[in-house]
Point group: C2
Chain length 207, copies 2
Amino acid sequence: MALAHKGLAVETIPWRFTDKGAIAFSGQGRVPVVQDGERALSDSLAIAYDLEARYGDRPSLFGGVGGEALVRFLNNWADGVLHPALVRLIIADVWTILAEQDRAYFRTSREARFGAALEAVQRDRGEAVIGFRKMLEPLRATLGAQPYLGGAAANYADYIVFGAFQWARVTSSFPLLEADDPIVVWRERLLDAFDGLARQVPAASAP
Amino acid sequence: MALAHKGLAVETIPWRFTDKGAIAFSGQGRVPVVQDGERALSDSLAIAYDLEARYGDRPSLFGGVGGEALVRFLNNWADGVLHPALVRLIIADVWTILAEQDRAYFRTSREARFGAALEAVQRDRGEAVIGFRKMLEPLRATLGAQPYLGGAAANYADYIVFGAFQWARVTSSFPLLEADDPIVVWRERLLDAFDGLARQVPAASAP
């Protein structure tokens, strides 16, 4: 979304958890990774900051120095609050769509992290989703007052949070939001952005 | 802090909860209230947005349109997550420093809200503060990476969160943060800002 926001032509490369060799050039083992000429960058926020610095003549990802600074708080909220709550609702669903060669790695590493079987982690999600929706209240209240976290138009702040919902959308059919949640309207708008870029990735179908 | 940031000369008026008449000119019954010429404004964020629009030639409170938009998320986080957790740690302390004429109003209205005696609400704070500190992790992680939420210098984003800590500082001696918390360093810097404006209000002394 950030690359599309900057209007940059990119080639995307499908990647699997266990395919560490394909991103070894980045000097670490996690996605996202961006290669731009001779440079390799990792970490979403670091990539966004770099894009803003290198392509300053293109549409801003942050809308000024204040947004560029404050987005770090939102990023930390997404990493530390949103993602940990979300992963517990869909972690076993994620496993079901993995390629065979990734399944053992994913199950072993994640079950060690949670101290429980993937299926046990998400078993009570019918109740846990109530707390998840309550946790989203600062997002919901903001989107009730303005179209995007970025204001009148979407910016990198929106893409941070949307990324979590997009990950859930393509890995799980579990309904995270109630139909009348203002967050749904916002999510749909971002699925439509850039000629439906995010919507081109198919949503998970019900098991 | 926002008024000082804009370098505006102001007269402040001490006010008590039950003194609704003194702010009736604002058309509502809660502080903060700002009177600027013929205009009366209430609600902290609305006041900040108005100050930025009216005094655009003075130092920016938001650092651009992106910060101005995203600060609404932070404000909703402060109102919906930070304040509700904080109030449960100090609510009975707040009562002890009130003037006699405010005590019944405050106790009755807050005990109705919590469904418990003020003293019962904060009774388990020795344990509850652990969750409070964990809730602050997005703030802590951000201040571990940059001096202020606003970036290299403080802006309205910082004042939103600092306001909660200042309220606690002047009403309660309960230690909210551990001494080595990066949030403490940031809080001290904001107490020093504008020639120690916030520090001029005495901290609550231990009972």
